[in-house]
Symmetry: C2
Subunit: 72 residues, 2 copies
């Protein structure tokens, strides 16, 4: 994924599948920039290291990000 | 940083320095888990690729995460 970052977006396709907080290894957020005009949110799954692009416009995903960032 | 993830937290020290949205290459959020009992938020800087651990308990950081995730 990072290879193409200088010329375009990392995410080609946004996943619609539900994502469970406990199955996440990590979440990457790449701010909008000249190389990609929209924010990209990439989840890495614990099980197999699979990466999935999440939809930042989804309220479910916004709630997930909020919940993770506020864990103590 | 990821090398030690199986046994402990990635962040040893939390940065207090202000972080500007435009200087960020990406943000990683690692949910709390058995290997680390607290969420970790790691910023990678555009300029030099430097990684900095941010404080999830800071309202400024929470606002930053929210602002980035809602960019269109």
């Amino acid at each position: 994924i990072p290879l193409s970052r200088t010329t375009r977006c990392a995410c080609i396709k946004i996943s619609d599948r539900p994502v469970h907080r406990r199955s996440l290894e990590k979440i990457e957020m790449i701010p909008a920039s000249q190389s990609c005009p929209r924010v990209e949110i990439i989840a890495t799954m614990k099980k197999n290291g699979e990466k999935r692009c999440l939809n930042p416009e989804s309220q479910t995903i916004q709630n997930l990000l909020k919940a993770i960032s506020k864990q103590r």
